[in-house]
C-alpha cells in the first residue's frame, strides 16, 4: 500500500516564467504568437490567464504524485455502502478508447457511426432484458440525472392525461438525498414516509400518504437499509390504485442482478447507475451514466436521443420520433464513452455472468455481516438477510467508549481499508453501511474483519488512538469548519 506520505506542492509553485511543455504547442516556441488583426481590440484578453509554466516531466510527476495520495479500487478494498465499488475491468477502458470511438464527432453522420450505434442499441436491449423494462434511454449522465429524467417522465405522463393535480412525490426517509432533491428540481412536492423497525416501508403510512395529488413514489430496492422490500407488490398496488407511478432508484441494482427485475416488481420507471452495477469507473467523482428504463406507458416520454433501428441501419430518434419526449438532457447523447464501457462489461459477463453478480455480491455481504455480528458488532437489522450491503450501528461504541462511527471509519484507513459509508441512512444512529461487492476475495473480506476486530480492541484499551485517527495518511483529520468559514477555493501567489 505505497501511499505517498509527504505532501505535494501546488502545481503553480513549480511554475517558472518561460518554462513550458513546448512539444505540446502547435507552433514553435519563439515564433510570433500575435492575435489576428480581425479580432477587435476590445474583445481580446489583456492579461494572460494564470496557468502553470512547467515542463512535461514536472506535470507528469506532479499529477502522478497526486494520484498516489488517493485510495482507489485498484489499490484498496473499498466497502462503500450504496456505491458498488467493484473492480473496473481494464478491457472496458482499453476497448472504449480505440481511436475509432474516441475520434468520432457526436454530430457526424449516422453513416459514419454504425459500429458505435450498434453497441449503443445492443446496450439498450440488454438493459431492458436485465431490468424487465420496455424501453431504455441512455443519455442521463449520472444517477441523479437519471432520477431527474424519471420524475420528469412521471410528471409528463400525468400532464398528458390532464391529471394536473398530481405533484407529490413520496420518498421514504431512508432514501438517498438525491431523491427529494430531484423531486424539487422537477417542480414536485416531497412527502417523506417512515420505514419500520425491520427496514421495510411503513405500509400504513404509505396508505395514508397516497391520494389524488400523488404523482409517484421513489424507492430503492433493496433499500439503503440493506434489505429487500418484502412487501413490494403490495406497495406497487397501493400506489397504482391511487393513480401514482413507481420510480426505482437503481443504486442497489447490483444486489439483485439476474435474480429479480424492477419491471416485474411493478416499477414504471427506473434509473440504472452504470458506474455501479455495470462497473464503469467512478473517476474520483464521475463520469457516471444514469440510463433510464420505462414501462409501456412511459415509452413516449423518454429523453432524447434514443438509438433506433430501421432494418439493419441504426439511427438517432429525435423529437420528431418522440414528440412527447421530456426533451434533451445533454448537449449530445450523454456519456457515450461510459456507455461503451458498460456495454463491454455486459458482453464479458454474458447471460450466466449476470446472475453471478447478484449472487456473489450477496454472498460476500452476508458473510461479512455474519462474521462481524459474531465478533460482537451490532447489526441495525439483525433479523434480516443482507442484500449486497448491510448496516452496523456503532451506538454501543459511541455510548460506552466514546468512539463514533466516524472514528472507526477513519481508523480503517490506517489499516489500509477505505471507510464504509458513514451516517447514511440518517435514521440509523452511528451508521456504517458496508458493501463489499462480488469482486472481492474471501481473503480481502477476512482482512477487513480482522481490522474491525483490532479496532474494537483498540477502542476498549486506548480509545484516543481511534478517535484521533487516521495516523498514517498524508494528512490528519481536516478542519472542515475552517474550510467553510475562511473560504480558500483558488490558489493565489504570495504577495510580492
Amino acid at each position: 500500500m505505497a501511499m505517498l506520505k509527504h505532501p505535494e506542492k501546488i502545481i503553480f509553485e513549480y511554475s517558472r516564467p518561460q518554462r513550458g511543455s513546448y512539444g505540446q504547442w502547435p507552433t514553435e516556441q519563439g515564433t510570433p504568437n500575435d492575435v489576428a488583426a480581425d479580432i477587435p481590440e476590445n474583445l481580446r484578453r489583456r492579461k494572460a490567464p494564470m496557468l502553470p509554466e512547467v515542463s512535461e516531466l514536472e506535470v507528469v510527476r506532479h499529477f502522478t504524485r497526486l494520484s498516489q495520495l488517493n485510495f482507489s479500487i485498484d489499490t484498496h478494498f473499498y466497502p462503500l455502502g450504496s456505491c458498488t465499488m467493484k473492480y473496473n475491468p481494464k478491457a472496458c477502458n482499453q476497448y472504449a478508447m480505440l481511436p475509432g470511438f474516441l475520434n468520432r464527432h457526436p454530430l457526424a453522420p449516422e453513416s459514419t457511426g454504425q459500429g458505435f450505434l450498434a453497441c449503443m442499441y445492443e446496450l439498450q436491449e440488454m438493459l431492458k432484458e436485465v431490468t424487465g423494462m420496455q424501453g431504455v434511454a441512455l443519455s442521463p449522465m449520472a444517477g441523479a440525472h437519471g432520477e431527474f429524467a424519471g420524475v420528469a417522465m412521471i410528471r409528463a405522463y400525468h400532464r398528458a392525461r390532464g391529471d394536473l393535480a398530481r405533484n407529490e412525490i413520496i420518498v421514504p426517509v431512508a432514501a438517498h438525498g438525491t431523491n427529494p432533491a430531484t423531486a424539487t428540481m422537477c417542480g414536485c412536492v416531497v412527502r417523506e414516509i417512515p420505514v419500520n423497525d425491520d427496514g421495510d416501508v411503513d405500509v400504513e403510512a404509505l396508505k395514508a400518504a397516497v391520494g389524488p395529488n400523488t404523482a409517484g413514489i421513489m424507492l430503492t430496492n433493496p433499500s439503503t437499509c440493506g434489505v429487500f422490500e418484502r412487501r413490494i407488490q403490495e406497495v406497487a398496488r397501493i400506489v397504482h390504485d391511487a393513480g401514482g407511478l413507481l420510480y426505482y432508484d437503481g443504486a442497489n441494482l447490483n444486489a439483485i442482478l439476474g435474480k429479480v427485475r424492477p419491471g416485474d416488481m411493478g416499477f414504471d420507471v427506473i434509473h440504472m447507475n452504470l458506474h455501479k452495477t455495470f462497473s464503469t469507473p467512478h473517476g474520483g467523482g464521475g463520469p457516471g451514466a444514469g440510463a433510464v428504463g420505462v414501462s409501456q406507458r412511459l415509452l413516449p416520454f423518454m429523453p432524447i436521443p434514443v438509438v433506433g433501428k430501421d432494418g439493419d441501419r441504426y439511427r438517432w430518434l429525435s423529437e420528431k420520433d418522440l414528440p412527447q419526449s421530456i426533451g434533451r438532457l445533454s448537449a449530445f447523447m450523454g456519456n457515450a464513452g461510459v456507455l461503451l464501457r458498460a456495454y463491454i462489461y455486459m458482453r464479458m459477463l454474458g447471460r450466466e455472468g449476470m446472475h453471478r453478480v447478484g449472487e456473489f455480491a450477496t454472498l460476500n455481504a452476508n458473510y461479512l455481516m455474519a462474521r462481524l455480528a459474531k465478533a460482537g458488532f451490532d447489526l441495525a437489522y439483525p433479523n434480516r438477510r443482507a442484500s449486497h450491503e448491510f448496516i452496523i450501528t456503532a451506538k454501543k461504541q459511541k455510548n460506552d467508549l466514546g468512539v463514533s462511527a466516524m472514528d472507526i471509519a477513519k481508523r480503517l484507513l490506517d489499516y489500509g481499508f477505505h471507510a464504509p459509508t458513514t451516517y447514511f441512512p440518517l435514521l440509523v444512529p452511528e451508521c456504517l453501511l458496508i458493501e463489499p461487492t462480488e469482486t472481492e476475495s474471501k481473503e480481502a473480506l477476512d482482512g477487513f474483519i480482522d481490522a474491525m476486530i483490532a479496532i474494537q480492541k483498540e477502542a476498549e484499551a486506548q480509545a484516543d488512538l481511534v478517535t484521533s485517527a487516521p495516523h498514517t495518511m498524508t494528512v490528519r483529520r481536516l478542519d472542515d469548519v475552517r474550510a467553510a468559514r475562511q473560504l480558500d477555493l483558488a490558489w493565489k501567489p504570495a504577495a510580492a
Binding site: E56, N70, P99, A144, T178, R261, S330, M333, D479, L489
Partner: protein
C-alpha cells in the same frame, strides 16, 4: 464468471459461516413469484480476446473520416501525458472524495482546477464540474434565479445564437421549476443591444450570452453586459475555454463583468468520443458562491496545522440539504476535470494562446478555400473564432452525405435548427487541420457540387 475470485472451497466456508446451505437461500426474502430463472435475451459471455475482436471491428467499421464539425465539440491535439496519467487506477477507480484523508490527490487536483478555470474566466470561484456545457447553462439559469433575489419573474433571455442543444437542455432541465426561457432571434448572426431594447425596464432575471456564439461569431460582449446590468439583469456567459487563451474573460466583460460563466471542458484534452463524457464548468463572483450547484473544494489545515483539502460548503448539497439543495447533482465528471487540469498544465498560458491563434488562422484558410468553390459563400461577415457559417446554393444534407462517402465529415447542417438561414452549413477548423486537409475538403466539395449539377 470473469471477475469473481471465489473458489468452491471459499463458497463452502462462507456459507457455513452464514449458516446457509446454498447461495440461493440468501434470496429467501424475495417473493418467489418475482424470481426469474433466466435472461434469455442476454448473449453468451465473451472472453477478453473475443470482446477485443468485436470492439476493434466495430471501431474500424466507423473509419476515421476527416472532421470539420465543431458545434460544441472540438477536435484538438491531446497530449499523450493527459490520458496516460488520467487513467491511472488511483484517479480512474477512486470514488467521490468524501473521505478527505484518503482522497487528497483528487481534492488537490480539483483545487488546482478551480484555480485555473477561475483565472481563465476571470471570476472568483468555481465548482468541481457539471455534466456538460448544456447542463451547465441549465444550472447557471437556475442559479441566477437564486442569486437575483429582487427578480421575481424567473425569465431568462436566450438569443438564438446560443447553441440550440444547450437551449433545449436548459428548457428540459429548468422548466419544471417554472423557469421561462425567452428566445431572441438574431438573424444577423449576432445579438445586438437593439434586439434587447424591448425588454428594457422589465423584470428579467438573466441574459445568456455565448462567446464565441454558435455560429463562431464574436458577440459585442461589453455592450451587451453593460446593457443587462443597467436593466438589473444578471449575465450568464457560455464560453469556449480554448478561446479564452486570447479572448476577454467573462469576468472582464463590460464595466462589472459577467455574473456567471459556464461552458464545456471538452476542448481541454477530452476526446470527441461521440459526445461524452465531457465536463461542464461553472464559475461566478464570490458574492454568489453559496448559490452554486455541485461540489466545491477548499484548502484548509489538518489537526497538526498542515495544509490539506476538503469538500466544502456542503450545506448547499443534496446529501445534506435533501429537498432544499441548490441542485440534485451528485456524481459529476471528475475524471474529465482531471484530464482538463493536466491539459492546461501542459499548455500553459502561451500554449493555450498558440492553440487559439492557430485555430483562428486555420479557420481563415478553410473559409477562404471553401468560398472559392462555386456555389459557396460566407453567411456573416463578422469577427469570428474557429467556426463559420457558409451558405450553399442547394440543400446541405445531400452534400454532406456525399462528402461522408468521400471520408469527409464536412460540417453541421443548420437547416433543422435555423431554417430561416437557408442552406446554411457550420464549419470548423482547429489547430489539427493541415493545409492538405483543407485542400482535400475544398476539392471534394467542388467535385460534389459539380457532380450534383451534372446529375440534375
Amino acid at each position: 464468471m470473469p471477475f469473481n475470485p471465489h473458489t468452491p472451497d471459499d463458497v463452502e466456508q462462507m456459507l457455513a459461516a452464514i449458516g446457509a446451505k446454498k447461495i440461493e437461500d440468501l434470496f429467501d426474502e424475495i417473493p418467489k413469484d418475482l424470481r426469474i430463472e433466466s435472461l434469455a435475451g442476454i448473449p453468451d459471455a465473451l472472453n477478453e480476446m473475443q470482446v477485443g475482436r468485436l470492439m476493434s471491428a466495430r471501431a474500424a467499421q466507423d473509419g476515421t473520416p476527416l472532421n470539420f464539425i465543431g458545434a460544441g465539440a472540438y477536435e484538438h491535439h491531446i497530449p499523450s501525458a493527459v490520458w496516460a496519467v488520467t487513467t491511472r487506477g488511483e484517479f480512474y477507480s477512486a470514488y467521490t472524495p468524501y473521505q478527505a484523508e484518503a482522497s487528497q490527490g483528487t481534492l488537490q487536483l480539483i483545487y488546482e482546477y478551480q484555480t485555473m478555470i477561475t483565472s481563465l474566466t476571470g471570476l472568483d470561484v468555481s465548482n468541481a464540474s457539471l455534466y456538460d456545457g448544456g447542463s451547465a447553462v441549465a444550472e447557471a439559469a437556475l442559479m441566477s434565479i437564486r442569486a437575483h433575489r429582487k427578480s421575481k419573474s424567473q425569465r431568462i433571455l436566450v438569443p438564438t445564437t446560443l447553441n440550440p442543444n444547450y437551449r433545449k437542455t436548459a428548457v428540459a432541465t429548468a422548466s419544471g421549476q417554472g423557469v421561462r426561457f425567452e428566445e431572441i432571434a438574431c438573424p444577423k448572426g449576432a445579438l445586438s443591444v437593439a434586439d434587447l431594447e424591448k425588454y428594457a425596464g422589465e423584470d428579467v432575471t438573466a441574459l445568456v450570452i455565448q462567446q464565441p456564439n454558435f455560429f463562431g461569431v464574436l458577440e459585442d460582449v461589453d455592450a451587451l453586459t453593460d446593457w443587462a446590468h443597467a436593466n438589473n439583469i444578471l449575465v450568464i456567459a457560455s464560453v469556449n475555454p480554448t478561446s479564452l487563451g486570447i479572448l476577454k474573460p467573462p469576468g472582464e466583460w463590460g464595466a462589472r463583468g459577467a455574473d456567471i460563466a459556464c461552458g464545456d471542458c471538452q476542448p481541454l484534452g477530452v476526446p470527441l468520443s461521440s459526445g461524452g463524457p465531457y465536463a461542464g464548468f461553472l464559475t461566478t463572483k464570490m458574492e454568489f458562491v453559496r448559490q452554486m450547484p455541485g461540489r466545491i473544494v477548499g484548502r484548509t489545515v489538518d489537526a497538526n496545522g498542515k495544509q490539506g483539502f476538503a469538500l466544502t460548503l456542503q450545506a448547499r448539497e443534496q446529501h445534506i440539504r435533501r429537498g432544499k439543495a441548490t441542485s440534485n447533482i451528485c456524481t459529476n465528471q471528475g475524471l474529465l476535470v482531471t484530464a482538463a487540469t493536466i491539459y492546461l498544465s501542459l499548455l500553459g498560458p502561451e500554449g493555450l494562446a498558440r492553440v487559439a491563434n492557430e485555430c483562428h488562422r486555420n479557420l481563415g484558410e478553410l473559409v477562404g478555400a471553401l468560398t472559392r468553390v462555386k456555389g459557396v459563400k460566407p453567411a456573416f461577415e463578422k469577427p469570428r473564432f474557429h467556426e463559420a457559417v457558409l451558405l450553399l446554393d442547394r440543400p446541405v444534407g445531400p452534400v454532406l452525405a456525399e462528402l461522408a462517402r468521400r471520408g469527409i465529415v464536412g460540417g453541421f447542417d443548420l437547416s433543422n435548427d435555423y431554417p430561416e438561414l437557408g442552406n446554411a452549413l457550420l464549419v470548423c477548423a482547429t489547430e489539427t487541420r493541415t493545409a492538405a486537409d483543407i485542400e482535400a475538403y475544398a476539392d471534394a466539395l467542388a467535385e460534389t457540387l459539380k457532380a450534383a449539377v451534372r446529375a440534375a
